[in-house]
Structure formats: C-alpha cells, structure tokens
Amino acid sequence: MTSPPNGAGVGLLEEEAPPAPTIALGLRGSRRRRRRSAHQPGRPLTTPGHRGPAIGLGMVVLYMSIIVLIPLSAVVWTSMEDGLGGFWHAVTRPEAWSSLKLTIVASLLVAFINLIMGTATAWLLVRDKLPGRAVLDTLIDLPFALPTIVAGLALLSIYGTNSPVGLNLAYARSGVVVALLFVTLPFVVRTVQPVLLELDREMEEAAASLGASPTKIFLRIILPNIVPAMAAGTALAFARAMSEFGSTVLISGNLPFKTQVASVHIFNQLESDNVTGAAAVATVLLLVSLAVLLGLDLLQRWAARRG
C-alpha cells in the first residue's frame, strides 16, 4: 500500500468536509485515515489516559463475548458433541457436502461480482456528478433494511415463474446467485465509498501535471489506495453470502444436491432434530469465513510491508 505524504493530506482536509465516519471494519486503510484526522487543527488531540484503554478493552471484550464469542463457541462446542468423527461424518454427509460446495462457489462468484460492481458504484457515487446521485446513495442501503425473506419474495415475483420481465431464474442455481447479489450489494460500496471520498485529489493532479495518463493515474494512485477497502468489502460480502438464508430459501427451490444452500441444509437438520449435524455444517461456514477474513488481513499486511 502506498501511503501518501501526510502533509498534503492535512492541507486538503481543512478545505474539504471532515472525513466520513468509517464503518469500523478493521480496515488497514482506515487506520491511516484515523491517524491523519487526529492531527486536524481545531480538533483536540484525544490521547487517552493510562486507565482508559484498559477499561475500554475490557468493555469491548465483555461486549463481544456476550454478543458474539460465547454464542459462536457454543455452536462449535455443539458440533463436537459426537467427537471429531461425528463432526466429520456430519460434514461429509453427501447432501451436506453438496450444499457446502454450492454455497462456497456461489459466494465466491457473488463476492467477485460485488468487487467489480460495488467499486464501480462507489466511484459513480463519489466522482460523477450525476443527477439523482443522492437518491441512489440512499437506495444502496435498502437491502439491509429489508427482511431478507421479503427480498426473496420480491425477487421471486420479478424473476420467478410468472416473471413480468420474462426472466425466470427461480428454482435454479442462478436464483441463488441473484438472491445473494441482492443482499450483499451494500458491502463493497459502503467500504470503498468513504476511502474514495477522502482520497487526495492533489496526488492525482500532481500525477496528471507530470504527464500520467488517466489509466496510469487510476492504476498507480487510486487503485492502491482503495484496494484494502475493496478487499474488506468483498470479504464481508463473501461472509454474508455464505450465511444467507431468508432470500435463498424462497428462490432457490431447496432441492438437495441441486439448489440447496448450506444455511437451508442447516435449517433442515435442525428441523430433523439433528442439532449436532446442523452445528457441524455451521462450524464449517464459520471456519471458511474466518479463513477468508484472516487471509485477507495477512494479504493486507504483506501489501503494507511492501509499500
């Protein structure tokens, strides 16, 4: 990652609006921004006291434990109730394995499409002075606001058997992909957008004045700056797609070996009173998501070290 000279950034920030509050996603990019914004004139330097961080850390860990860590470890614990052999048996059960494969492949595809389209959308929202941009900006978050089962119903009425647009994607794997695209739409847009907003225009102007072509400016200046955000957004979209239930349960058709995604398989196992099997498949989803998030983090560290 190329870190821009700090001095230039400060000067620019005074003229422009203060940086948008970034969603705390553990972006490596946002760390840099935070450092910059801390030096802003007019804003007191809030260096916390010695006790501050400890209390803060304690609170965050406690909160995280209650809300996330303990429930998640309960899932993992349940999945191991019949030992490692039972876990493996539950995961390699043909219908479980097939649903996991479909889920991972569909999620990767969806993450990739999001990477391209989400970045393009963010670019459009930040850099193009389009009429109706504000409306579009608001619409982006709507998939978050809707219960995903309603999203499934809506998609079904548009792309289902009686499709008014003549596009029948339902009850097939393409339906799964469309549903996942719908629910993961905001992630890349909302992670890339604030970084683009803050991006130092002076760098681009300097590059242009030195004769760099627009393509070169994009590849050498803009892209390195937004890649961390793009990657983080993509990873989030991937993780979200892996776990999606509400919209896929309606539009996929849930046919085992064909259109049944892992979350629906988990639901079936729960309904069949096989809690351990359900937890085992859920644990695999957790592990894959964790691996993707960790891998991304390592990649960013590596990129940062290379500068």
């Binding site: 203060p18 948008a20 059960r93 058997t161 009850y171 349960v249 058709g253 849930n254 064909k258």
Partner: protein, 347 residues
C-alpha cells in the same frame, strides 16, 4: 457530512432502545405469567401454542369458547408457527397450556420432556382434534388428468412438495405415496421405486407446506402434494386450483393436548373439551379440516371418504416411520434423495 454522523448516531440509539425494549418485553412476559398464576383473579390467561394452519379456526373457536360459561373468564395468548418449531419452543420453555401440532412426533417430543402426560392420546379421539387427507392439488380443470399418486411418476409432471426433512407435512405426503403402494399389496421395493420416480419429478422442495402452496399458486409446477384442508383454504381464498383426493391415500391426524405444567389445568381441559364439541368441530370443518367427532356438521363442506384410506398406524406408526424412512443417514427417503442427487450432479 455532518448530518450523516447524526443519522448514524440516531441509528445507534434506535438500535439500543430496540434491544432494551425487547429485553424488557421478555422480562415482562415472564413476570405477568407468574403473577396470573397465583392470584385469585377471575380472569385466567391460557397460552395456546399451535402450528400455523389452524390459526383462523382457533381464533373463531376461542371466540365461541369465551361465550360459554366455562370460557367466560378465560383469555388467550396465541402463538402460531411451524409445528416442529413450536414443539421445540415449548420443550425449551415457552409457556404453554394448550398445544396443537400437525404431527404426532411433535407431541411425542413433549411427552419425552415430561411436559405432556403420557396418556394424552388415551381419550376417545386418540388425542386428535382434526383430520385431513393427503391430496393432490392441480391447476384449474386438472389439465394433466392426475388422479392417483402413481400418475405423479409420469414424465413431464412438475411436482411441488415441501422438504420432508424440514416440514412435517411433507412426511405425510411421502408416506401417502408410499403407503398407496404397500397398502394395495405392492412390495416395499415397488413402493420405493414409485416414490423415487415421483421425487425425480419434484422441482421445488420448500421448507414448509405454506411456502410450497405459495410456490404453487405463484405459478410453479403442475401438481402440489398437500393437505386437503390447505387446498380448501387456497380455494376459499380464490386461487385458481382444483384438488383430487386419491382413492388410496393417507389419513392425516393432528394432535392437541394440555400441558402437564399448565397453571390452569382446569380451564385448559375445558378448552380441549370444547374443541371436541360439535360447535368447534364445525368451525374446523369450515376451515377445511375433517372433524374427528362422528356425525359432526361439516358446514356444507364435502369430505369424500376414499375407498382405500389408510392411517400412519397401518405403516407402523410415526416413531417407526421416522426411523425407517427419514433417518438422516440411512432412511429410505434419504437414500432416494441421494441417488437422485448423484444423477443430478452427473447431468
């Protein structure tokens, strides 16, 4: 940019308030229940936990019950949802006085947990409050001329039935197809072959019977396998469908019982008794269910008795059926879906 920060802050506060409220709501549910249990207060609050289909019927039955002397001071909290989910919720502590499920195994779960007396099915109705039959729902006018379950094996018939591993009603459907064979003298292997052919024609396996009905009325499929009462419900709602009751089909029996930890066993029992009165049974009939009480008024609803009607007992009872056919590793239906799945993946 500034208003953006404000908006986000508002969102945070809203989220916090919602969380606090839902916590308070949980707490107050527990509290009020305890309070109503010990007082000599005249009104008694019964908690009814049921599967989703009979909601409309129960609402009317409750209203009728409250007009009788026994039900005058009884109020109801009603909860409806998927039968298995409701049963599991009661098992894990959802307060309930009266439970009503679509499948006997959901009741067995509660007897095992000690929440429903083991002799719940020893009354003259064997613990059942409504009946129905597995039927075949078709498009208006039955264009594919489907009359029996065997007709569903024909090439090009698009069949919708819920997933038998998530939906109790799909298990009735599958045992209906299977039993129609074995009950007419065919071997189990022959029945399995027919079932395999039908399942090969299934294009959507929704997670519940209601979802499957929506898929069908939404235009997907030639045929929906489902409860007769669901078909009647859909027709009453103006859906363009017809339904066939095959000559050889399975009798669906829906159990209900009072819980053994009910704080108002007297009132709960009175309600269960009321559900068996001709008045309540007529309401069920209006909603498409077959009454369990003999000679009950069917409210003009036509319930033809199929010549080859059989029950789940004829197939060994639910406990045996669940293991033999729906075991997630070795069940016959599990095996069929796997064999079909392999061919699907090879395609």
């Amino acid at each position: 940019m500034e208003f953006r920060t404000g908006r986000r802050r508002i969102a945070l506060v809203a989220a916090g308030v919602t969380a606090a409220l839902s916590l308070a709501a949980c707490a107050s549910t527990g509290g009020s229940d305890a309070a109503s249990g010990d007082g000599k207060a005249k009104t008694v609050n019964l908690s009814l936990v049921a599967y989703s289909t009979p909601q409309a019927a129960y609402e009317k039955i409750i209203a009728a019950f409250q007009k009788t002397p026994a039900g005058k001071n009884v109020k109801f909290t009603q909860s409806y949802g998927a039968s298995g989910d409701q049963s599991r919720a009661v098992e894990s502590g959802l307060p309930a006085d009266y439970v009503s499920f679509s499948l006997e195994t959901d009741m067995t779960r509660l007897t095992k947990a000690g929440l429903v007396a083991a002799d719940w099915n020893s009354d003259e109705y064997k613990g059942m409050v409504t009946d129905s039959v597995v039927s075949i729902v078709t498009r208006k006018g039955n264009p594919k001329q489907i009359k029996t379950f065997e007709d569903l094996t024909k090439k090009g018939v698009d069949v919708i039935t819920p997933n038998p591993f998530s939906s109790g009603s799909a298990r009735w459907n599958i045992m209906g197809i299977y039993g129609a064979e074995t009950q007419s003298g065919k071997s189990e292997a022959q029945a399995t072959a027919v079932l395999t052919k039908v399942l090969r024609n299934v294009s959507v396996q929704d997670e519940s019977a209601r979802a499957a009905l929506q898929t069908f009325t939404g235009g997907k499929g030639d045929v929906l396998i489902g409860y007769e009462n669901e078909a009647i419900f859909a027709k009453q709602n103006g859906q363009d469908i017809d339904y066939v009751v095959p000559d050889k089909t399975l009798l669906i029996e829906n159990p209900a019982a009072i819980t053994s930890n009910s704080k108002h066993p007297k009132e709960a029992k009175a309600f269960l008794d009321f559900v068996h009165t001709p008045e309540a049974q007529k309401i069920f009939a209006q909603n498409g269910y077959r009454p369990v009480v003999k000679d009950a008024d069917t409210a003009g609803q036509d319930f033809p008795t199929p010549s080859g009607l059989f029950t789940i007992q004829d197939l060994g009872g639910w406990d045996a059926v669940a293991t033999k056919y729906f075991d997630i590793d070795k069940g016959i239906v599990t095996e069929i879906e796997r064999s079909l799945g392999v061919s699907v993946e090879k395609k």
